[in-house]
Symmetry: C2
Subunit: 329 residues, 2 copies
Amino acid sequence: MKIIVDAMGGDHAPEVVIEGAIAAIREYANTEVVLVGDEARIKSLLVKAGYCADKISVYHASEVIEMSESPANSVRKKRDSSVVVGLELVREGRGDAFFSAGNTGAVVCAATFSLRMLSGIERPGIGIITPTLKGIAMIIDVGANIDPKPMQLMQYGIMADAYMRHILNIANPQVGLLSIGEEEGKGTEFVKETYGLFEKSKLNFIGNVEGKDLFSGKCDIIVCDGFVGNVALKVSESLAEAMQVFLKRHIMSNPLGILGALLLRASFSRFKKQLDYSEYGGAPLLGVDGVVIIGHGRSNTKAIKNAIRVSKEEVERRFNEKITEAVRT
Amino acid sequence: MKIIVDAMGGDHAPEVVIEGAIAAIREYANTEVVLVGDEARIKSLLVKAGYCADKISVYHASEVIEMSESPANSVRKKRDSSVVVGLELVREGRGDAFFSAGNTGAVVCAATFSLRMLSGIERPGIGIITPTLKGIAMIIDVGANIDPKPMQLMQYGIMADAYMRHILNIANPQVGLLSIGEEEGKGTEFVKETYGLFEKSKLNFIGNVEGKDLFSGKCDIIVCDGFVGNVALKVSESLAEAMQVFLKRHIMSNPLGILGALLLRASFSRFKKQLDYSEYGGAPLLGVDGVVIIGHGRSNTKAIKNAIRVSKEEVERRFNEKITEAVRT
């Protein structure tokens, strides 16, 4: 099992990516990592980290796509970037999966060009896993496809259903369509048309769900267009952070607060852990003909390690074959 | 000053609405409330509450629009509902403002038909106030107009700017357009076209903002279409509630948790208060030719009282005249 990792992607790359890769090969058996990027820099960081075994190799790529660059342009121009080169290695069969915490748009774009789509799937979608009051849920799409067709949302539902069944072992996952009211007639024309497709599908479709159901645990899969999904995801991150700041401010302004906070330290730390995206690893880019996992730009060592684990699981369980079967039937 | 209140609207109506009205006329000088709805029931509840002064009157309406009813249909059919009758009282000049915590869609629909639009405004928008790390912000629209034109979003920006200046006393408010990236070229065609209009406007436009900026305090006004805004609002409510449940679970599973929580009781209560929509009263329906405030379905006594205060302020400060002036220039 060989996971190709974009060593240059993410806010704390390459240092944190390298640490995450080392943590992964130490924890997971039968796993090798190929770090793609600035060879001299990566090798010196590996030496610095005291790593000298043979389960991590380095593949040189001279360019880096920055977080702020336009996806399509940068992928076209920077043919020797770690993203483009890493995905080519997967296409050529020299690696089993690709992970990057870099420019999400560029990864989506390069993966689509390099790997092409799975048979029966029109566009890729990013599915993220979030904690809910009853467990976890997948929200798809959170930004790969901001102007989708109803049929593409339908395909996201089928792929997420396969992901929940085969990767997360959830039997018969419930699928909801994100709208602004639960009744069938609620929402834009786009939502209504998509509703009709889901209703006729074999999925365990429960109808429209609302923004309030993202964390309620009402269903296991929430399907939406990439614009709305991206806004919802970033609103959640922003609110979770703001709430932690608000709470801290109130605690610190209270004379008994610091003592109380000390007593609650273990609770707060479990609370933060539950909200921490890094526990869930990266988000799969579903629909491309290859395993691609996208990490949060702020990924820390643990997030990188977990993302490598998720990549490995998708490969081991032959996940893309499951999608192709599901689409065919 | 006479505020027309839909006594039958909201999850806890009419009891809580009546309590809120009593609290409002006790706290705010020169304010009268007209409760619209089932006269016999309202009067008996007023007697039960021990209220017998003359600052609250009752206006009979025999029908109620339920929360789940289709807005357009219910407004057309239930001509003697508290929503339709209450808005007619404002149209006829028999009240200065209308408040309802009932079916939002029905209020938007009936207000548009009854009061018509302000000159220069095409569609009404619901603006809500949220707490941010730096203070507060208005998000507009959160559900009145789910398929708007770029020019209508532009008008929401102008109205929200007037609201921040004249009602919330924020000088030169910064306006952001909700998209999925900060750069000018990011987002759907609809967002790009809207961006162009804002750029040419007199507003203090800071460009695109992302979902993460809803609570960061990056700008004072966030403009978006009603579908995205509604999802974002409900995601926030859902996450805030889920986080409180998560935190409680972690605290209760910790032997020292209960003692710590007791010491932090004051902090937790201020924290909850900061997140509590009822502190901010209702959300103004901007753009109709009359003052209309929409409350959360779950409004409690305090929320109703605060919404009556907000209605009063909009009337006193001749807010709609400010909008008409702003649109004209």
